[in-house]
């Protein structure tokens, strides 16, 4: 019972290889992948199976050798750099294993950062209060209302990851790409983060791609895609429904 909806993300025959010294390392050897609007998909696989690379390609952080990625109806191959930057800023929210917050900025500023990037200085002055309100609201929702002006190093791992999620959501993206978001967290905190993601998916209809190597984490998603040796492993059950 695949939900038929407009695909937010469509990946076709995607290939990517890296040159390392004399050898050419093929990471993705023709990956096909679709993400429907409002879907929560886990991508699992062993280390080196190409999960992160796939995520980076979908998040426009890297360019594929061949194949195509269509993000929100836009084919991204061959787009000029400025359009790619714009698309990345507006359509995609990313969450990383090691949080990737800017250490010079406090929690609130980190959350507002994507919109600071989007707006020029004069535009920013006019949207500043709206953005600030939205960022505060998001942080509040994640239980960080009292830690707006703490620097990342003053926050715990779970708090940092929730700030990172708030940052990813402040732009109201069409898809959230999460790369091992629980990887650096203890089990309880990681579970909290996963609850947050599930809640966002269920309540806000946010499309999420979650990359993980942890089967337990992966099972929280609507569907699991297994990557092996640079391809989608078709031998595993196409979809595993999450328990609850």
């Amino acid at each position: 019972m695949t939900e038929v909806a407009t695909d937010i993300l469509r990946v076709r025959n995607l290939r990517k290889s890296y040159q390392s010294g004399d050898t050419r390392l093929e990471v993705l050897r023709g990956v096909d992948f679709d993400l429907a609007a409002g879907e929560f998909v886990s991508v699992v696989g062993q280390s080196g199976s190409g999960k992160s690379t796939l995520l980076h390609l979908m998040g426009l952080l890297d360019a594929a050798d061949s194949g195509e990625v269509v993000l929100a109806g836009t084919r991204i191959a061959g787009l000029p750099a400025s359009r790619r930057d714009r698309l990345r800023n507006t359509c995609v929210g990313m969450v990383f294993q090691s949080y990737h917050l800017l250490p010079e900025l406090d929690a609130l500023e980190n959350v507002m950062a994507p919109l600071m990037v989007r707006h020029g200085i004069f535009e920013w002055l006019s949207v500043r209060s709206a953005v600030r309100a939205r960022a505060c609201e998001l942080l509040d929702r994640f239980g960080l209302g009292g830690r707006l002006h703490h620097r990342p190093r003053q926050l715990s791992g779970g708090e940092m990851q929730r700030v990172a999620i708030a940052r990813a959501l402040v732009t109201q993206p069409q898809v959230l790409l999460a790369d091992e978001p629980t990887g650096n967290l203890d089990e309880a905190t990681g579970a909290g983060i996963l609850d947050t993601l599930c809640e966002l998916n269920r309540a806000d209809g946010l499309s999420i791609v979650l990359v993980t190597h942890d089967a337990a984490v992966a099972r929280r998603a609507d569907r699991i895609v297994r990557l092996a040796a640079g391809r989608v492993d078709e031998t595993c059950p196409a979809a595993e429904r999450k328990a609850g």
Binding site: L61, A81, H100, L102, E104, E109, V117, R118, G120, I121
Partner: protein
């Protein structure tokens, strides 16, 4: 927006980068101080040059000069029109100054300049540089009773650096004459005593007795008397008359003049000719106003003959340009014309060899000079502005300033390389943050903008601090000098070397602006390469960077 915010945050958190701009600060401060002091010196020098030279100098090539200065002045006025404010004729000849110090004759090579007391003040600041307050208001070639300044009237110090001038003038002259009279009497008494004591052995075969005067001179020359002996005026006058048949009769001629009541023609020598400054800043004088000297100069005839005459120093002249102060001796124009035979016995017209011209404020010197050059043939007359006259000196100072500026800018350029190195370090350190920003959608230009902006901020901070430091030093350089002298016990600015008592300093806003712009420009330029490197980082690799 994020660029500004991050620049600001980096500025506040990266102290190492602030360290890199200390060299910018020091470079800017040094440049401001050096330029201000150089400009101060240059300004002082130009003021002094201009104080002595009038705006335009109209000269004949010949030492004999040209006749009828009045006609020439009328022609000049006609040619230059309304730009001329004043004119005065002068005669300048190379000459030799002789005076006696403790029995020894001292000779100086001089430029003997005849000036018109009445009109000379119209064209130059000559009067300002004299040592007697009365002469500063109206120059007189008559010796003053006393009252010469013991404090340098042109400096701001109030310590008397010229104690010797206190007794100068008629009082000094009378004292000297009196001392010589006592000497003479003592010698006469000695001579009588020794004659009486001599046995008759010498008998009538004694050689011709030397006159008292000769003996006095001989003794004075051999002993260490305090003051030089009086010149023998009658003999001088006679000699001068012989050498110069056109000389007019002088009242004292033929009679023996009384040096305690009369003087020779007054002259005003440059202060450097007869004084020196010791290391404590006190000026010591070899001869004082009231003393007599001899000057030997060429007549206007063909071929010129050397004539000599006695003169009385009536004042000293100090422009603080050593070239002038140790070269120029001023004398009344009419006297010099008469002594050199520059007055035509038939027509009574006098000759001069230059006319000093003063232009109205704001007149273009070069334009007026060119107008005059058109009217007066260049093979007979030379017309030059005061700048032309000191062209090589002024050009040398300008060149010195340019070279210094280039060298000092190199210091800031070196600082630029420091910024470059530290920025590369910061880019490496911030690689992950750059990756994060790229993952949030920041473009290459935005990332480059952060580092360029950071370079600009650092440049502004460095140059701003340098500006404050430089201005503080330039404005207080003399207090700082005093402080350093007090701390080290060493003289930093030795007044016996420089004629100034304080270090001159002029801050030119335009120069300062250029220095700031240059320093900030160098800071931005040296952040270009690191900025490009940051912009070119691959986002995925940057994110993986530890």
């Amino acid at each position: 927006m994020y660029k500004l915010l991050l620049c600001w945050r980096y500025l506040r958190t990266r102290w190492i980068a602030l360290a890199s701009i200390i060299s910018v600060t020091l470079g800017v401060a040094t440049m401001i101080v050096v330029n201000s002091v150089m400009a101060g010196f240059s300004h002082e020098m130009q003021t002094r040059i201009h104080g002595i030279l009038s705006d335009l100098v109209f000269e004949s090539h010949s030492l004999s000069g040209f006749q009828d200065p009045q006609w020439h002045m009328d022609e000049i006025r006609r040619a230059a029109g309304g730009d001329i404010v004043g004119m005065t004729p002068t005669v300048a000849v190379p000459a030799m100054l002789n005076f006696q110090v403790r029995g020894q004759w001292v000779t100086r090579q001089i430029m003997f300049i005849g000036i018109d007391e009445a009109t000379h003040a119209q064209v130059s600041d000559f009067g300002r540089y004299l040592q007697h307050p009365g002469n500063r208001t109206q120059l007189s070639f008559d010796l003053r009773e006393g009252g010469y300044d013991t404090v340098d009237s042109q400096s701001e110090t109030t310590t008397p650096t010229r104690p010797a001038l206190e007794g100068a003038g008629w009082q000094h002259r009378r004292m000297r004459v009196e001392r010589e009279r006592v000497w003479r009497e003592k010698l006469e008494a000695d001579r009588r005593a020794s004659e009486a004591a001599l046995p008759v052995a010498a008998g009538g075969s004694a050689g011709p007795a030397r006159s008292i005067d000769q003996q006095v001179d001989a003794v004075l020359a051999a002993t260490t008397g305090d003051e030089p002996p009086v010149a023998s005026p009658a003999a001088d006058a006679a000699a001068a008359t012989r050498a110069d048949p056109f000389r007019q009769a002088r009242p004292e001629e033929g009679t023996r003049m009384d040096p305690a009541k009369e003087q020779f023609t007054g002259i005003v020598p440059g202060i450097g000719l007869a004084s020196f400054r010791d290391s404590s800043g006190i000026d010591r004088f070899l001869v004082l106003p009231g003393d007599d000297v001899k000057v030997t100069f060429p007549t206007a005839g063909t071929p010129p003959k050397a004539v000599s005459d006695s003169f009385t120093i009536v004042d000293y002249y100090e422009s603080k340009m050593s070239e002038y102060d140790s070269n120029f001796v001023f004398v009344p124009l009419a006297t010099l014309q008469r002594m050199r035979g520059m007055i035509d016995p038939q027509t009574g017209l006098a000759s001069v060899n230059s006319i000093q011209i003063k232009l109205r404020d704001g007149a273009d010197l070069d334009v007026v000079r060119d107008k005059l050059r058109k009217v007066f043939p260049a093979d007979l007359y030379a017309v030059a502005t005061w700048r032309d006259k000191q062209g090589p000196l002024l050009a040398a100072v300008d060149m010195e300033m340019s070279v210094l500026n280039i060298l000092l800018f190199l210091i800031i350029a070196v600082a630029g390389f420091g910024i470059l190195a530290i920025f590369f370090m910061i880019v490496v350190e911030k690689t992950r943050d750059i990756g994060i920003l790229k993952s949030l959608g920041a473009g290459a230009s935005g990332i480059a903008g952060i580092f360029l902006g950071y370079g600009l901020f650092l440049g502004l901070v460095g140059a701003g601090a340098g500006l404050a430091l430089g201005l503080a030093i330039a404005w207080n350089i003399n207090s700082i000098r005093v402080g350093v002298e007090w701390l080290t016990g060493q003289r930093v600015f030795d007044p016996s070397i420089y004629y100034f008592h304080r270090i001159p300093s002029i801050v030119d806003p335009f120069t300062v602006a250029w220095i700031i712009v240059g320093a900030v420009g160098i800071a931005v330029a040296s952040s270009v390469l690191p900025a490009l490197r940051a912009a070119g980082l691959h986002p995925v690799e940057a994110l993986r960077h530890d």
